[in-house]
Subunit: 477 residues, 2 copies
């Protein structure tokens, strides 16, 4: 029996849908049996006092979905459904009450000294809005936007990046060597996939754990070489296995902060050439040098064509921006593009065009200068603040970017110090996370970022840390 609600109020279901739903439920619940003939459309339409079209539409939908079938000159029949349909839904393992992660992890943090978030005033909203709207209104965009784009990303952005790299990083490359990606991890993932499975990568110790994650994911074997105060020295590396790839941060070692000198850079290139290895230069924040001019990239002296350069826009625009790029060595650019020709780009096109506009307008250079200015002041506020501690805490030198290490004069329990800071509302970070061999990690360090704290809050933050950490001085005496 079909009951129709013919009121056209809120939530009113179209008549054909009501008919469709009720017959469907009758079939599922077994009130209509397999091979049973159901009422003809003319008859049902008359019974329900609706147009025949309405019933036709309901029957068509039921036919399409396989609940009934039309038999030639004989009307509509119910089809057989597998018994399994009545099986009870299995116990739900997923806890629906579980709150989304966004709402969890809300510790009582007043200042988060992370390096992976920014204070909200740093995003260049005005500039971005202007260039984004300009991009939307660009005539040629309409055509591009409606097409599936090239895997390597838009040519306008790749051209601007190549100009930028030549100007700022000393890197000369053709736009064809550039691949636009959605972040460092994706860049690394493409490279691992291109170079093959179970290869051997050499990482600096310590290094960036999110890079390590991608090597692990691709089943690469990881060797490590401890850095000294000049970064990685490839001459110290003596491993029997052949190294296919070296992952390094020559212009600002992550997380220790030193610059690799020119002689070591040359030895690294020599090693790569002799051992048929490639070097991944992760140049994650080298525009951010606020005392000197940026150190030229390793890629700028890459005579053996062995360096894969990775850049990002996260540090200047925003961490949630998700735009990065790879500069490929010339020697495998064509093979790389061929390898991924069946892959779609993962980067939104309008963003690429807008970013190209940001670069070509000179706004990007202005943003870099602004960021350097802001970060310099924040860094100096921290440095001055730590000078006033009873405990002689030293802030790591050679600072650039958005973080530094604090060096305690004595062995500390990192987790204990982190907990103490958290008790006064300040979140600081351990350095263990950066070591492959945790036992190798010096205990005197903590990792502090200053991208998410406003200049005017730094004195208060320092006061809190002072309260939290001066205790070790008392304990010592």
């Amino acid at each position: 029996m079909i009951n129709l609600n013919k009121n056209k109020g809120d939530g009113h279901q179209p008549l054909y849908e009501q008919i469709y739903n009720q017959i469907k439920l009758d079939i599922i619940n077994g009130y209509l049996s397999p091979n049973e003939r159901i009422l003809g459309t003319r008859t049902l339409a008359r019974m329900l006092d609706v147009s025949r079209n309405t019933v036709d539409r309901a029957y068509l939908q039921l036919t399409l979905e396989g609940y009934i079938e039309s038999r030639k000159n004989a009307g509509f029949y119910v089809l057989e459904l597998p018994k399994v349909f009545y099986t009870e839904r299995k116990q739900i393992l997923f806890d629906k009450r579980k709150i989304d992660e966004e709402l969890l992890n809300r510790e009582n943090i007043i200042y988060d000294l992370t390096n992976s978030s920014h204070t909200s005033n740093l995003f260049p909203k005005k500039e971005w809005k202007r260039h984004y709207i300009a991009a939307l209104d660009q005539l040629e965009l309409a055509e591009k936007l409606s097409s599936l784009q090239l895997f390597q990303g838009d040519i306008a952005l790749r051209k601007e990046i190549s100009r930028y790299l030549e100007r700022i990083r000393g890197v000369v490359c053709h736009p064809r060597q550039i691949i636009i990606t959605s972040g460092l991890q994706q860049s690394l993932d493409y490279l691992c996939q291109f170079l093959g499975k179970s290869k051997n990568v050499l990482m600096e110790e310590p290094s960036y754990p999110k890079a390590r994650e991608i090597f692990v994911k691709n089943s690469w074997n990881i060797s490590t070489e401890k850095v000294d105060n000049k970064g990685l020295d490839i001459c110290n590396f003596s491993n029997e296995i052949n190294i296919d790839m070296i992952y390094t941060t020559p212009s600002h070692q992550f997380p220790l902060g030193m610059i690799m000198p020119i002689s070591r850079r040359q030895k690294l290139l020599e090693f790569a050439e002799q051992n048929d290895s490639f070097i991944i230069e992760d140049d994650y924040d080298s525009e951010l040098r606020y005392y000197e001019k940026p150190v030229p990239a390793l890629k700028s002296i890459d005579y053996p064509d062995r360096v894969i350069y990775l850049g990002t826009f996260s540090k200047i625009l925003s961490p949630s921006f998700r735009m990065s790029y790879i500069v490929l060595p010339e020697q495998f650019t064509e093979d790389f593009l061929e390898r991924f020709k069946m892959h779609n780009s993962t980067v939104n096109l309008i963003n690429q065009i807008a970013l190209a506009n940001v670069l070509s307008s000179g706004d990007y250079d202005r943003l870099v200068r602004k960021m350097n200015h802001i970060f310099k002041k924040r860094y100096e506020a921290f440095q001055n603040g730590f000078d006033s501690f009873k405990v002689p805490i030293k802030v790591s030198h050679n600072v650039s970017g958005q973080y530094f290490l604090v060096n305690f004069p004595t062995k500390i329990n990192q987790y204990e110090m982190i907990k103490r800071a958290l008790d006064v509302g300040v979140k600081v970070y351990d350095t263990m996370q950066f070591w492959q061999e945790e036992a190798e990690c010096p205990h005197e360090h903590l990792f502090l970022g200053f991208s998410k704290i406003e200049l005017e809050n730094i004195p208060d933050c320092i006061e809190r840390l002072k309260k939290a950490w001066d205790i070790i001085e008392i304990e010592k005496s």
Copy 2:
């Protein structure tokens, strides 16, 4: 000898940079030898008639980069560089003259009957611009934007997707089960990585080659099962190996276009439950059904919690938009999130918030209706046009989405027909590309998309195809 250009005209290099560059070149070129003492900063400043600060800055940069070092109370000395520095750059394999791909492939195409691009008027520029600007101005965005976001994507968008899926596709899921991705291939890639290496996937024959590419990339073994006129029938599948995953397009088989009836859907779920397999439901265009209402998703009856649902925004917004999503089964949602907790999202946050606004405002539903209206008219224009051919060419029925197959009454050479069409300026596509076993591919088909051709151009396009293809009628007679 250092020559300074002190004119402050265009392209003027700062003085310290000129000093830095000239000393650096002298070291590289061997005019200054290792361990040679260079002029003191005071002396050089006097000689060049510049401030001592300027020289200090140049020397600091040279020191930082490892060209010189300061020795205690003894001034600055040139450091030794490895000999390899003078090696000639290897022959450049990369052909700089090679034009970017964008400029290549410009065949003489008047109408491109692809399904992966749109006519440029289809992008809802006005609506997108409004919601994008609103997103930028949303107060809470500033905070989110400056933080590294969650791997799974923003909660606002995930909530809107879960509402949309319930309303339009009958899928009930928690926002926690949703992962925002940059496209179908990335969705598949995450899933392959989560489920492990060298698993066995069953694909429909024919199927989507860009999906196949991801399985191949992850070293998965691919089995195929030929679809019949009701899509995949899992009961026909008899393979000795255990199937871990089934990739299917139940609501609109790609590329043949049929709908899998309810009885086969149930059998598929039963199979997955009994064999401990998962089903990937690629629901790529099921909103686009312009004669009937959309068929409910397989996921909507997923009682054994075995279906991984994949959706995309490419078909309604634009192919270059790069936003898609996964709905995970409840049973492995937590493990999946744990597995990727060290991974960053690849999707730009502002776009996510703007898209959430498009969905919540009702504009998305309006866009779907608009697209259905436009595509319906285009499809009917093609259907009517083909009816006028001498050769009885049939357009595949059950049409929805943005493409159809044309069925010739006789065996054709696909490449020959494509070439003939191209000769009159129309690009059509073969169906071989969709078959794993090319020999299995029927020869009577061609693949035509109508997302990139305007309604008013369809009659002219048909006339051209008529000219190109009517020949086979003549050849037959």
